[in-house]
């Protein structure tokens, strides 16, 4: 666990440390806890290091790195027995802890010529504590700071070396926490937001829009940074209304387009969502969940917009909602979203939670597969001016032609329309078009049915099925594994394609299981409601949390044990 008061460089420190450890063969999981303010506040990152895959925070910290000793007191309860507390030599801190007091700021001034380099001193010191050398660190600093120019890389390196040296010299008293040896692998450390952005680029996105709002901003920022080499147009619009409608205009013109926002901004996009449904425009929306209502907890996590997103927008039209758990699923979800949107000519929503977006996940490079991308299928042999945008085809699908095609016209209409796209009030045509649009739901549902994921083998056993979606997966999987070790009959079912609800697959699973419970980050048990509504399942209980923080493995384990007991 590492923390500082200014929030300065916290993300740099945790990412640099994380990448070095991943390169050394470890699996690393980094989560951020950040306050909604520009500077300062109580910000920290948790870094979990393992020789095997990790997708959740650890329970207690073995090492606490605090640039300011005054803040150690806030984390005493989070420490494992005998945890090492690495902090600055100057300033008071609680008694009785296993402290390594180093002059972090003085070393930073001396070797890095800047107090800010205390971060680098701490990185060097932390690596010494876990028994690692600084091999490869300079390369990482290079990739982080090269753009800043000058001698920033060298000064950071000098600061890190000073921190490393100080711990090594003091090794006896420092009680190092040597890591077990790790198997090298071809792995990456990437945030959920970056993975979604990169997945979209892999899916040939060309226009990305947004209005800054946590937790969606990092997706747009990633796209901004890579706009040139990836051939993207990235627009920060005057508001979310414009962001969504701009994307619709671009998609109508033939570009794959995506807009990014949080629940609050998505409220403003509902009108556009409905328009995309009516005009049958392929539109991908990334919607990040944070605790509401209203402004809520701007920088924290929740899973309370599930039902909202599923039902958002006036009128009836098909949509897909994907709820990826982590970076690997986010990368895949972005590609799936564009494939479905393009094929079914309808909006697709990637619904993620803040925790998923901001955490750094270790993924095998081979997990990030780029699928063959299908370019827009332009129908051939259409007579001049014979193209009709809303011709009723199989599964409700119509051929798509790009505006600008010589001797063809494309009419996209928000009013009820005939097959050509002209406004109509004919009752018969209205029924025909409603049926056409909604017929596309079956095609989308087929995609969802095959994606229901069951962790552990819930075969014929009478097991308790633990349903979850989004980033809860890592925590639930670990809690379920612990319960199974204790001999409990439980299995996790994670839904990362949640709408149209995979009714058949879930019903078939539930028929084998003994009972159904959910784990979700909201007050009202929204997934439990869906299971009841869509599959007629009686949900025996829900482990809930809605304080804006991610579940811990222990609390999910305890919650599930209690639910198992209660319902016998």
């Amino acid at each position: 666990m590492s923390r500082d008061r200014q929030g300065r460089g916290l993300q740099v420190i945790s990412r640099t440390l994380g990448r070095l450890l991943v390169r050394a063969g470890y699996h690393v999981f980094v989560s951020q806890d950040v306050m909604s303010r520009i500077r300062g506040g109580h910000n920290f990152a948790r870094v979990r290091i393992s020789t095997g895959p990790v997708a959740a925070d650890g329970e207690k910290a073995e090492i606490l790195v605090a640039l300011d000793p005054a803040l150690v007191v806030r984390h005493v309860a989070d420490l494992a027995p005998d945890a090492v507390v690495l902090t600055d030599a100057a300033g008071g801190m609680p008694e009785g802890l296993n402290a390594v007091r180093l002059p972090l700021v003085d070393l930073a001034r001396e070797h890095g010529r800047d107090a800010v380099m205390a971060n680098a001193v701490a990185v060097g010191a932390a690596l010494a504590l876990v028994g690692l050398e600084l091999t490869g660190l300079e390369d990482l600093f290079e990739s982080q700071f090269a753009a800043k120019g000058g001698d920033v890389v060298r000064r950071n390196m000098a600061a890190a070396e000073a921190g490393h040296r100080a711990v090594v010299e003091d090794m006896k008293r420092c009680c190092p926490r040597k890591l077990a040896g790790a198997e090298p692998g071809d792995r990456l450390l990437i945030s959920g937001a970056e993975a979604i952005a990169l997945g979209a680029i892999a899916a040939n996105v060309r226009v990305v829009t947004g209005y800054p709002m946590s937790p969606a901003t990092p997706i747009v920022e990633y796209c901004f940074r890579h706009a040139r080499e990836a051939g993207l147009i990235v627009e920060q619009t005057e508001d979310e209304i414009s962001a969504a409608n701009l994307a619709i205009g671009a998609a109508f013109a033939g570009a794959r387009a995506m807009t990014c926002t949080a629940g609050g901004g998505f409220c403003l996009m509902n009108e556009a969502l409905s328009l995309a449904g009516m005009t049958e425009t392929p539109l991908v929306l990334c919607v990040g969940m944070r605790p509401g209502p209203g402004t809520g907890l701007a920088t924290r996590t929740a899973q309370a917009d599930l039902l909202f997103v599923i039902y958002a927008g006036h009128g009836e039209f098909p949509r897909a909602v994907l709820t990826p758990a982590d970076a690997a699923q986010g990368f895949q979800a972005a590609q799936d979203a564009f494939r479905i949107a393009e094929k079914c000519q309808t909006p697709v929503i990637i619904l993620f939670d803040q925790f998923m977006a901001d955490a750094l996940w270790t993924v095998e490079r081979s997990e990030l597969r780029v699928e063959n991308r299908q370019e827009r299928q332009v129908p051939e042999g259409v007579q001049p001016y014979g193209y009709r945008r809303y011709e009723v085809g199989e599964g409700g699908l119509s051929p798509m032609v790009l505006p600008g095609t010589p001797e063809q016209l494309v009419y996209a209409d928000s009013d009820e329309h005939n097959e050509a796209g002209h406004i109509t009030e004919s009752a018969a045509m209205r029924v025909r078009m409603v049926d056409k649009r909604n017929a596309k739901t079956a095609g989308i549902r087929q995609e969802a049915e095959v994606k229901v994921e069951v962790e552990a083998k819930a075969k014929a056993e009478k097991e308790t099925l633990v349903f979850c979606f989004g980033s809860s997966r890592g925590v639930v999987a670990e809690a379920v594994a612990r319960l199974r070790e204790k001999g409990r009959k439980v299995a996790m079912v994670h839904l990362h394609y949640i709408w149209p609800f995979p009714v058949e697959a879930v019903t078939a699973l539930a028929a084998k299981g003994a009972k159904v419970v959910t784990v979700e980050q909201n007050y009202s048990g929204q997934l439990a409601q869906l299971l009841a509504q869509e599959c007629g399942l009686r949900v025996a209980g829900t482990v809930r949390r809605y304080d804006g923080r991610q579940f811990s493995v222990a609390e999910v384990e305890a919650g599930l044990e209690q639910l198992t007991r209660e319902v016998g």
């Binding site: 508001d239 409608n245 701009l246 013109a253 490079r365 001016y385 016209l409 996209a412």
Partner: protein, 288 residues
């Protein structure tokens, strides 16, 4: 008649007899034909109201979308494919009310599109409520005693926001309007025209006759379209508190600055870019 017809439409025109919209539609079509544009190269994005139906009736590509959102749609179309000629059409409710924020930023962006606003000073399709451009005292069902606030001045707002082509036309002078739309089509930037369009059903104050008594052609009075101060003075002549104000027609202001879609965007229209897996492979290296 077939469903899809260039420069014409099988759709029944649902405007009131005598409506100014007929003339505006004809002027737009004449200007596009004179500019030698093919209908397949033109995209009309329409707002919702009687004005937005121009999209349906013109016989070019159209995206007939939402009330107030024509400009964001136009931005999306133009950025994705700058090769298309994009025309945003809406009413005073669309552009000055519901979509007011988009309009302010459209002036700043200077996207190379044409924006036509049918300004009739009243809401037609919802049957007679006050518009942002209704003059003070304009009585409606909602406010029988008259509008309480001054009318929105789109030309002055456009000037302040850095608009590069600010003009006013009149549905009662189609020759002038056709020429004006032609100038806006030629302008490399945001060609904005506020069009005085008498509503024969709901606005019994600002009639064709009322306008004819007040309008004058700026070009005939030696107005310098590059003079921002002069443009501002002309813009402030109307709407006015007094009923005897003169109303300037023509180009108030024209300046040359880079059109938005040419600023720092990929060299090729993005609709024509093919996928490149190398980009993803290389980007992943940042996470090693």
């Amino acid at each position: 008649m077939p469903d899809v017809t260039p420069w014409s439409s099988p759709a029944e025109k649902t405007w009131c007899p005598g409506c100014g919209n007929f003339g505006i539609l004809n002027a737009l079509k004449a200007a596009l034909v004179a500019a030698k544009l093919e209908p397949s190269q033109v995209v009309v994005v329409g707002g919702i109201g009687q004005s937005g139906k121009v999209a349906q009736y013109l016989g070019a590509n159209f995206l007939h979308g939402l009330h107030g959102r024509a400009l964001p749609h136009a931005l999306g179309v133009k950025l994705a494919n700058p090769g298309l000629k994009v025309i945003a059409v809406g009413g005073d409710g669309d552009m000055y009310g519901e979509g007011g924020n988009h309009l302010l930023h459209a002036f700043r962006r200077n996207l190379d599109i044409v924006c036509l606003v049918h300004n009739n000073g009243v809401y037609g399709l919802t049957k007679g409520q006050a518009a942002p451009t209704s003059g003070p005292g304009f009585a409606t069902k909602n406010r029988p005693m008259g509008t309480l606030v001054p009318a929105f001045n789109p030309l002055a707002a456009g000037l302040v926001m850095g608009g590069s082509f600010i003009a006013r036309g009149f549905a009662g002078d189609l020759k002038h309007l056709t020429r004006l739309i032609g100038d806006a089509l030629k302008h490399k930037g945001f060609g904005f025209i506020d069009i005085l369009q008498p509503c024969v059903t709901f606005n019994h104050v600002n009639t064709f006759g009322w306008f004819r008594e007040r309008v004058y052609d700026l070009a005939l009075e030696g107005h310098d379209t590059s003079d921002e101060d002069a443009a501002r003075a002309r813009a402030l002549e109307w709407p006015a508190e007094t009923g005897d104000a003169r109303i300037p027609l023509g180009i108030l202001y024209r300046a040359w600055r880079a059109a938005y879609e040419s600023c720092g965007q990929p060299g090729k229209p993005v609709v024509r870019l093919k996928s490149d897996l190398g980009v993803v492979k290389k980007a992943l290296e940042d996470f090693e």
